[in-house]
């Protein structure tokens, strides 16, 4: 299997889970280490976003909130066209480790194939542009 579906990292942090939780799940925390600006509605289904000074931004949807152990969200797959419905799921797991925290992040869902409906929609879209341009041409010809 050469196609990575999930990415997993674990880091040991010398800070208690409550501190790590705040850094992961508050706008102030996220803006201090992840994005340059952030907002979050911390409940399953809640919206969150981050912005970077370089002009990137990320829209997230909060999925799991189990303070102070599990925080999960989905976001758009970076690099795919905007409006593509495919998203990856990011889950942070916090485990107490002495006075500190063992933090694991898993991002999964990279190996989704566009479902047929989406594929049709996309092909339909390119066809749609061609026929819309043809309609514009005939409209201009008639004028």
């Amino acid at each position: 299997m050469g196609f990575p579906d999930r990415i997993e990292r674990t880091v040991e942090l010398a800070h208690p889970p409550a501190k790590v939780w705040a850094a992961l799940t508050t706008a102030e925390g996220l803006a201090a280490w992840f994005g340059n600006e952030a907002a979050i509605d911390l409940r399953p289904g809640g919206a969150a976003w981050m912005k970077w000074n370089e002009g990137y931004n990320a829209e997230m949807r909060v999925e799991r909130v189990e303070e102070p152990r599990v925080f999960g969200f989905t976001w758009h797959i970076y690099g795919l066209p905007e409006g593509d419905p495919r998203r990856t799921y990011v889950e942070f797991t916090l485990e107490p480790d002495g006075a500190g925290t063992r933090l694991t992040v898993v991002e999964s869902g990279f190996a989704q194939l566009a479902d047929e409906a989406h594929q049709k929609a996309f092909d339909g879209n390119t066809g749609g542009w061609a026929s819309e341009l043809a309609e514009l041409a005939s409209y201009l010809d008639a004028a």
């Binding site: 299997m1 050469g2 196609f3 990575p4 579906d5 990415i7 990292r9 880091v11 942090l13 010398a14 800070h15 501190k19 790590v20 850094a23 992961l24 706008a27 102030e28 925390g29 803006a31 201090a32 280490w33 992840f34 994005g35 340059n36 600006e37 952030a38 797959i77 970076y78 690099g79 795919l80 066209p81 593509d84 495919r86 933090l103 992040v105 991002e107 990279f110 190996a111 989704q112 194939l113 566009a114 594929q119 996309f122 092909d123 390119t126 061609a130």
Partner: protein
């Protein structure tokens, strides 16, 4: 996991590994559907070589053949396989080490200076 996404991505990378096929795909992406003759006029490649590569690209599902004017076959880029390849690249380009290092630094800094304001304030808030 879908069984064939890797195969789809592989065909895209095989196609892109050849400079002539890259040039053909780039021409179709920028200029829209074209016949082999159109492409021969725009690229420094013989029509025969272009026809051979277009046949391979059609088999791989990266372009589709459709009827054009004067019974010439026109070739159109298919974007769906490119999206499978983009996902593969997205996984390779995903950087968690950078943000996790920044998280560690942030927590260490906060512990040293508990009353300090966050590094990045939100303008206007």
């Amino acid at each position: 996991m879908p069984p064939d996404i890797e195969a789809v991505a592989e065909q895209v990378f095989v196609a892109l590994a050849d400079p002539t096929r890259r040039a053909i795909l780039a021409a179709l992406a920028s200029g829209g559907p074209a016949t082999a003759t159109d492409l021969a006029g725009r690229l420094p490649i013989t029509r025969q070589a272009i026809a051979k590569h277009l046949a391979l690209l059609t088999l791989a599902g990266l372009v589709t053949a459709e009827p054009g004017e004067r019974r010439r076959v026109r070739y159109r880029l298919r974007s769906a396989p490119m999206q499978a390849a983009q996902q593969f690249l997205a996984a390779l380009a995903r950087d968690w080490d950078g943000p996790l290092g920044a998280l560690k630094d942030h927590l260490d800094r906060e512990a040293r200076e508990p009353a300090a304001a966050p590094l990045h304030g939100i303008p206007g808030h």
